[in-house]
Symmetry: C2
Subunit: 89 residues, 2 copies
């Protein structure tokens, strides 16, 4: 499960699309796209490009949103939203 996670950052959408496709074409039946904060919209884009352009039989089996507490730059805590999108063959 942990090994199925593709974490979304600030790179272009296609970088993560390629990561998901590589993962699913390496003997894995599942990929979990995770993102925090402003990259959440990129995570949704990645799921849509993978499904609509490359693997039309792939299904979204679960979507979760929530809040994580991260260490802030000033030593305090800050809350950040996350999304987790589970893709299954």
């Amino acid at each position: 499960m942990e090994n199925d996670v593709i974490f979304i950052g600030k790179k272009p959408v296609m970088s993560y699309v390629l990561a998901v496709l590589t993962h699913l074409n390496s003997g894995n039946d599942k990929a979990v796209i995770k993102a925090r904060g402003s990259t959440i919209s990129t995570a949704v884009d990645v799921s849509q490009v993978v499904i609509n352009k490359f693997m039309k039989d792939l299904k979204i089996s679960n979507i979760e949103v929530g809040t994580e507490e991260l260490d802030g730059k000033d030593g305090g805590k800050r809350n950040v939203s996350f999304i987790s999108i589970v893709l299954n063959k």
Copy 2:
């Protein structure tokens, strides 16, 4: 159902939090937070602030992501991702 939709734009998160709270405190049991493109992350933030800070008994009953075709500026079509988060009392 259509009347339960709060559409997320470029305003601050708290504007939409207030819109959702007002909707749910006006005799409605359901609110649907919808967003397209880069405002998707704001939609997730809005759902989390509403639940964690204001209405802890609220449940997310469904989350949907998908692609919509919009008219582009050049007269062509462009695809844009959306999210829909359903909150229920």
